[in-house]
Symmetry: C2
Subunit: 275 residues, 2 copies
């Protein structure tokens, strides 16, 4: 999927919502626990209940790996289920990988070749040759960590050389490795006004914004400072949607929560004359 196709999907769904499938096994509704693969069944119903309002899903790989090889099977089944049933969905592996070239190549194979992910989140610490192997797949994307929304972000991401913070250097330098059709950035939303400065460095790239919803970020602020002429935003919500209800009605409630966000997103897209 390229940049135009992603924007077209956003216009079609009137949404730039990404649903994070942080499907922690211990939080799955008890009604599912007697099944063979409760996490997959949970995901399947969440996906069926929310896909109309959603342009992207983002399984967080840690929540599958914690179940070992069985968890990886659940991840594979989830990715395949999405692509078989909702092929328009932009599918992101939230894996935060990154290693020397020959190793990143193997991670790329795992997520972009063996599984049908469109994109993978990558950590920038090891530099160019740790990122470019993921960029060699046509129509696949790297979502590079730039500014994250957690407390520890301040430990290193603001390390400042001559007025350039590390995350700004990541944004500047990495633009040479890819383009707006295969590279987007994770930009934390806890301080939405920082998006204004970030947009000066990356005006045209898509940004994946975590932390709206349960973690308290404001969608309105993110749109105000982050939206561009092709939307340029995927805004993620995980727990606020998938764990909104713990009864067997969880999929219906998740759909309602996703629709609430989609409705707000539709309003912003209309205000900007993008739909």
């Amino acid at each position: 999927m390229n940049h135009s196709q992603l924007f077209r999907n956003i216009k079609g769904k009137r949404s730039f919502l990404c649903v994070g499938l942080d499907s922690e096994p211990d939080k799955i509704p008890s009604s599912l626990l007697k099944g063979k693969d409760p996490v997959f069944e949970f995901n399947r119903r969440i996906i069926d209940g929310t896909h109309k309002f959603t342009v992207a899903y983002k399984p967080n790989v840690a929540f599958y790996e914690c179940n070992g090889s069985a968890g990886w099977e659940t991840l594979e089944k989830t990715a395949n289920y999405i692509k078989e049933n909702y092929p328009e969905i932009f599918l992101i592996a939230d894996a935060k990988r990154g290693d020397i070239g020959n190793t990143s190549k193997m991670y790329a194979k795992a997520f972009l070749e063996k599984m049908p992910f469109d994109a993978i989140t990558v950590a920038p610490y090891m530099g160019e040759d740790s990122v470019t192997p993921f960029l060699s797949y046509p129509d696949k994307w790297v979502v590079l960590l730039a500014l994250t929304s957690n407390k520890g972000a301040s430990d290193f991401q603001y390390h400042n050389e001559d007025g350039i913070k590390l995350f700004e250097r990541v944004l500047t330098v990495s633009q040479k490795w890819g383009n707006t059709d295969n590279l987007m950035y994770v930009v934390g939303a806890t301080r939405a006004d920082m998006l204004k400065e970030i947009r000066k460095i990356v005006p045209d790239h898509f940004l994946l914004v975590p932390g709206v919803g349960a973690q308290g970020g404001s969608l309105e602020e993110v749109v105000k400072y982050g939206m561009n002429s092709s939307c340029g935003l995927l805004v993620n919500s995980s727990r606020g949607i998938i764990f909104a209800d713990s009864t067997d009605n969880f999929d219906k409630v998740a759909g309602e929560k996703a629709e609430e966000i989609q409705t707000e997103m539709e309003k912003y897209l209309m205000e900007r004359n993008l739909i």
Copy 2:
């Protein structure tokens, strides 16, 4: 395993060799390919052939993930095989994980609880709360990326704030999160003289040094600048040992290569009166 036990094992084996199990499926000797799990069979024979000369094994997780959930099963079998047969071995998951706290907690569960790894490599970009969940397991370790040996290391790791490079900040700041019993650092060996400066910041921590052997680093230089009074070094070799021979004799040749390095290591340990 704590710092003293690791040093005791080094003295017992007269070696500080870590063998990297970068067991790329495409490079497995053809004689194994008809078996049910060629990579596990390869690892098993490599381990049996090299364990006498080795204090640590380091499976590189990417080379298992590239086979999907089946690859994860191979990883689980490999980790269990090592701990069941050679419990004195220090077992490192080279996984380069790191995410927000609740996610790192799940990665920690995957590697330090569901699998019997003693340690996991972690990327520092997201800061303290991405690292500390791995440190909450008694006798388990984080191996934190500081200075890596790849070309891309220069893209960000040297980002310099007031004379402090990013990798130096990682070494300084992270020492508050753990101690010499649960935290060691990845320090690339392509420029061994940099170890001298690094030892000023972390005189007592163990360092995991990749890139000696096939990648051309000099063991003598690493020892000269990096060894401390409790050895303080694990030096890794991967391809130079495990892929030294492509016939069915590969395990014997791997053992010979490992013994060559162990013999050199023994000499350095004796020169320093550590054994």
